[in-house]
């Protein structure tokens, strides 16, 4: 028995990790709902997650038994909050616990609605998303609404202002507009991590749909975000939507016709939008890993411990993207490497062979010191890559300078002719026998010559 417990305890860390490059599958998702009817009314969304291998655990948000972690280990890899009205979570879960959950690299999907509670607003605010504070406000768009025979107040919006990113929304274009019915939010301008995945049209505003406007609403135009995504610095991903009904089967299946547009789409874009977006949020797309960083001198194969200035070197790294089932080669043309000491001395775009390998070669600058190879890859929607490898660079050794400089030939010539002259002089001086004038004057002449 104790053995069993031991085995179980040993397995816990394996079972409950956030997205990790080593074990990207087997992901457990906690779904908190206001009532279990959401499970059936939003089942298309949940089924698409289940069919992709996610293990969904449904709980009421006020269930006293819910817990995100036990014995310091997280029980889930991701959290879906489909409980817009919840004022207080059951169990040990609160806003701080959820933010800790995200801070430890786990993913989060939050859906608010027109009656969103302060708790949900607080979680959103911490993520850089500010919902309209007016509790009666909804996003109204008198020009971009979805034509409907039964919704006359133009709060059912058909929006097609998507974020332009293939990695977030998939490579297939979303043809039909996405239906939205809920509250709008604005993004904190100082937060550079949060992105508008779906924005309202310029004519939209956020206000109580039943009252006339007397003062400008706090949120207007395309600064209103309907659905936002956040990728934290630890690569945790968050999706925040101002509408829970967007995820519902009714909106998934409903046809849509945008006001003023003659085309009537059989099916709204919601299903495609959220299937693709959830793939992104749950790291089935856009998660990069870099392996096999190599650098060496041109013509050599081994990695040196030090480079000399002006050496030519080759640098290569392999980058792969997680596709949901396997690591696929990542192909892009904007991966850059920096040769960095306090500031980049060399910044070069890497070439790729299309199979995940990125490589380049360059000449080490003629500055010596401790350098780093740095790959700081940030791209919209992708997890950031940050690699650095330290490498020292030394100056020339004394015998590595250039030797036989032509400009110095006169000096060499002077020295060597002087040496030859000296040799001849010693011979002449020692063995010359003066036949005619045997006096030292001849020696004096010779001395004077030098």
């Amino acid at each position: 028995m104790s053995k069993l417990i031991f085995v179980f305890l040993a397995l816990i860390p394996l079972l409950c990790t956030s997205f990790s490059p080593d074990r990207p599958s087997d992901r457990r998702v906690l779904v908190l709902v206001d009532d279990f009817a959401v499970k059936s009314s939003h089942s298309l969304f949940f089924n698409s997650l289940k069919s992709r291998g996610f293990d969904l655990h449904f709980h009421l948000a006020d269930d006293p038994k819910i817990a995100l972690q036990r014995y310091g280990q997280y029980l889930y890899d991701a959290l879906i909050l489909f409980s817009p009205t919840i004022e207080r979570f059951g169990g040990s879960v609160d806003a701080a616990a959820i933010l800790d959950f995200v801070d430890s690299g786990h993913d989060l999907i939050v859906a608010a609605d027109s009656n969103a509670s302060d708790l949900i607003r607080e979680i959103a605010t911490e993520c850089g998303v500010d919902f309209d504070e007016d509790p009666a406000a909804m996003v109204v768009d008198h020009s971009g609404y979805a034509v409907s025979a039964t919704e006359g107040d133009h709060t059912l919006i058909a929006s097609d202002d998507f974020i332009k990113s293939d990695v977030i929304l998939g490579s297939k274009k979303i043809e039909a507009p996405v239906l939205f019915h809920g509250i709008g939010h604005s993004l904190n301008p100082t937060n550079s991590l949060v992105l508008k995945a779906l924005s309202a049209s310029p004519s939209a505003f956020s206000a109580n749909p039943k009252s006339k406007l007397t003062s400008p609403p706090s949120l207007t135009g395309s600064s209103i975000s309907l659905v936002s995504v956040i990728q934290a610095r630890n690569n945790a991903r968050i999706l925040i939507s101002g509408s829970l009904s967007m995820f519902s089967n009714r909106f998934f299946r409903s046809g849509v016709q945008k006001a003023g547009s003659p085309t009537k789409h059989e099916k709204s874009g919601n299903e495609q939008f959220f299937t693709e977006l959830s793939k992104w949020v749950f790291h089935e797309r856009g998660h990069l890993k870099a392996v096999n960083v190599q650098h060496h001198k041109v013509g050599e194969a081994n990695e040196p411990s030090i480079y000399r200035i002006n050496d030519n070197l080759e640098y290569s790294v392999e980058v792969y993207e997680w596709s949901g089932t396997s690591w696929e080669p990542y192909v892009a043309d904007d991966v850059q490497v920096q040769f960095y000491m306090m500031s980049p001395y060399v910044l070069k775009t890497l070439s790729t062979d299309g199979k995940g390998r990125y490589f380049t070669s360059f000449k080490v600058p003629d500055v010596y010191g401790v350098f780093q190879f740095k790959v700081e890859y940030e791209k919209l929607g992708y997890t950031s890559l940050s690699l650095s490898k330290q490498i020292p660079v030394r100056p020339f050794r004394h015998n590595e300078y250039e030797r036989f400089i032509p400009a110095a030939y006169p000096y060499y010539g002077a020295a060597f002719s002087m040496m030859a002259g000296f040799f001849i002089f010693t011979v002449v001086h020692l063995y010359h026998k003066c036949v005619t004038f045997l006096n030292p004057a001849f020696g004096g002449f010779l001395w004077a010559m030098f």
């Binding site: 009314s41 992105l195 004519s203 207007t220 009714r250 920096q338 002719s417 040496m419 001849i424």
Partner: protein, 697 residues
């Protein structure tokens, strides 16, 4: 006025799609869900049951061929109880050819299980099986001998709060089990050879009523059951729980006589709950939903009220579309309502009454009072055939009521009282008299006045400074010539640097007017001079031509910002440019020092060598000789070695220049130097001696 306009509403906002489109969308959903051949008999039963309820005969026939062999395979007394149960259920629908003796065998086995089974589920399956056999083949004896005993053993599982346990040794209870229990009890009653005591039946009826104490309610009036915190292997959602209860109590009501005392509102609420889900995502839930709705409306439960749903397929009525419609019908159809039971089958004879209708702005003044809707046999719609001619754009509330013709059917159906439906009447609003003016603030004289045609695309160009005012005015009128106040009338100034300012255009009487006094606004405009785009947004829920358009440009000349003025907000970072690749950096290497050309160096080398050549030439001219070289062997050897040593040292210099390093050179120099000292001393002393001898001689 108009001809054929359908202004229709849904009685419950949740029920938008239903039940008008219910049959169609359900049918397609059913075909989608049950497209693949079912894996188990339970799935097969669910598929067949749904096809049966929705009347999809072709699919049913299609299933028959594949499923019947499976049924026969499982209809042996040894197969598991659950499979047996579902095989019987499928057989009821498909009527496969089964031998009567097979039923005999199964019945006798089930009878044993009914008595011996300890769990509710086993009892449920065995009793259910017996009931099915009874329906399939009346020759088989399905009567349970000890009815009271079985009845009591099931009753014993009941908890005080109305929930039931799954077995006697498991203390956990659930609502789902309660539904199963009611169905099982209903089965027991129908299998009883003699009449069950009335008091016992009444106790169960009270249990059902008691169970409804734990029912949950939504704001929109729908009711549902939900298991609270069930730990256990099976977790049922609110849909399957509610469905189980509905199946249970309708079965019980059918098996017994006498009304179960449940309020009509609750039944209607349950129907609303099932309809409100729309189309659930998986086959099982879809089955639960459809089957429950079928139970709620099926006619054999005359004891329970059947909910009637009033739905209006449209609540937005456009005044402008009237022109496009044909004059094909003599009557004017303005408002249609359809009354259905929950699955869309026809309602009993009834009249839909429009109690009254009023504008949301003025609740007291009613535009239509107490009007009966005319029933159109052809389409099955209740039609409002007159409408006040002066109906203007706006939002209205229509109050409907369903009046049943038969007093007897009032017992059977529930209608839900008065139904309030918001109706939007939309139309084209005429925009006119738009003008934009720049005036001197002190004099009030118009500097530039421009008329605008807001329906066109023309844009004006204006310029102003901080001492001037901008005036903008326009007028809105409804199709009936009334003044119209839209919800949204924004006047927007957008600076080149994307800083936006929004002003709400207020209305004074007829006119919408905004006056921007730039002197008072300089602070708000952050002293930003330059070109501003002027945009006007006018929109309302009932305004069909809501628009957002560029009116023109304003070249604004504002004073310099004082030091303390607030800075304009920094524009948000564009996410697309933020992630663009950085510009490449290449290191600029130190340029090598300038050197003279090689030829020049060679010329200088030649010049440098000239003195040496002159020296050699001079020596030859002087006639040097080496006659002084010693003649004897030893000194001559030393002399040669001495000069070889000197040459060696000089050669060492050359080698040092060419390739040797300092340490090797010094080592070699040390050795050569010592050698040279020795031989040099010998030859020089010899020469000195010879010279001294010569002098002295």
């Amino acid at each position: 006025m108009a001809t054929h306009v359908t202004l229709l509403a849904s009685a419950f906002l949740l029920l938008l799609l239903l039940p008008f489109s219910a049959s169609i969308s359900r049918r397609s959903a059913a075909i989608n869900f049950f497209a693949s051949s079912p894996a188990s008999l339970e799935d097969a039963y669910e598929a067949l049951r749904v096809f049966e309820i929705l009347g999809i005969q072709e699919k049913k026939a299609h299933e028959r061929g594949a499923t019947c062999p499976k049924v026969l395979e499982n209809l042996v007394s040894t197969s598991p109880l659950k499979d047996l149960f579902y095989a019987l259920k499928v057989n009821v629908i498909l009527k496969c050819d089964v031998n009567g003796e097979v039923f005999e065998g199964i019945a006798s086995r089930l009878k044993v299980i009914v008595h011996d089974a300890s769990t509710l589920l086993d009892k449920y399956y065995s009793i259910g099986g017996l009931v099915l056999i009874k329906d399939l083949d009346s020759n088989v004896d399905t009567h349970i001998p000890d009815v009271d005993g079985v009845f009591q053993s099931i009753k014993a599982l009941r908890q005080s709060d109305g929930r039931w346990r799954h077995s006697s040794d498991n203390p956990e209870s659930s609502i789902y089990a309660a539904g199963l229990a009611f169905e099982a009890l209903a089965g027991v009653i129908s299998l009883a050879s003699s009449e069950i005591e009335r008091s016992t039946v009444n106790i169960v009826k009270n249990d059902i009523v008691k169970l409804f104490d734990v029912i949950e309610k939504y704001d929109d009036g729908s009711f549902y059951f939900e298991e609270k915190f069930v730990s256990g292997q099976e977790q049922h959602g609110s849909l399957s729980t509610t469905s189980s209860v509905v199946r249970g109590f309708t079965a019980f009501a059918a098996a017994t006589s006498g009304k179960i005392n449940l309020p009509g509102d609750t039944i209607l609420g349950l129907a609303k709950f099932f309809l409100g889900i729309g189309i659930p995502g998986d086959a099982k839930e879809f089955f639960s939903q459809v089957e429950s709705l079928a139970f709620l409306e099926s006619n054999r439960q005359v004891l329970i009220s059947i909910p009637l749903i009033l739905s209006l397929p449209e609540t937005v009525y456009s005044l402008t579309k009237k022109g496009q419609l044909k004059e094909s019908r003599k009557y004017r159809v303005y408002d249609l309502a359809k009354v259905n039971t929950v699955l869309g089958s026809a309602a009993p004879p009834l009249t839909v009454k429009l109690v009254h209708a009023f504008s949301t702005g003025a609740k007291d003044s009613s535009i239509i009072d107490s009007k009966e809707l005319w029933y159109d046999q052809e389409s099955g719609l209740h039609v409002l055939d007159t409408f006040p001619n002066n109906l203007d754009v706006g939002t209205y509330v229509f109050v409907f009521e369903i009046v049943l013709h038969d007093s007897a059917s009032e017992e059977v159906y529930t209608t839900g009282g008065q139904i309030y439906v918001p109706i939007y009447v939309t139309g084209i609003i005429e925009v006119g008299n738009a003008e934009i003016t720049v005036v001197e603030s002190d004099l009030g004289t118009a500097e530039t006045q421009k008329k605008l045609d807001l329906s066109g695309n023309d844009a004006v160009s204006l310029s102003a400074n901080h001492l001037q005012k901008l005036m903008f005015a326009f007028q809105l009128t409804t199709p009936h010539g009334q003044d119209f106040k839209p919800q949204q009338a924004f006047f927007k100034l957008r600076h080149e640097s994307k800083v936006e300012h929004i002003f709400v255009v207020g209305n004074t009487g007829k006119k919408f007017e905004i006056i921007l006094d730039f002197l008072g606004l300089v602070e708000k405009l952050f002293y930003l001079s330059g070109r501003y785009d002027i945009e006007l947004t006018v929109g309302d829920a009932v305004m069909e031509n809501s628009f957002l358009r560029l009116i023109g440009h304003l070249q604004l000349d504002l004073p310099e910002a004082p030091e303390k003025a607030s800075r304009p907000p920094t524009p948000p970072v564009d996410p697309y440019s933020r992630y663009e690749p950085k510009e490449e950096i290449t290191h600029t290497f130190r340029t090598p020092e300038k050197r003279p050309p090689q030829n020049l160096s060679l010329i200088f080398l030649g010049l440098i060598l000239l003195p040496f050549i002159g020296f050699l030439f001079g020596l030859l001219r002087l006639g040097v000789n080496v006659k002084n070289f010693p003649g004897s062997t030893a000194p001559s050897t030393f002399g040669i070695l001495f000069h070889v040593g000197i040459a060696g040292i000089l050669l060492l210099y050359v080698l040092f220049w060419l390739k040797l390093d300092l340490f090797t050179t010094l080592k070699a120099f040390g050795l050569l130097g010592a050698f040279l000292m020795f031989v040099g001393h010998r030859i020089l002393s010899h020469l000195a001696l010879t010279s001294a001898k010569l002098k002295s001689a």
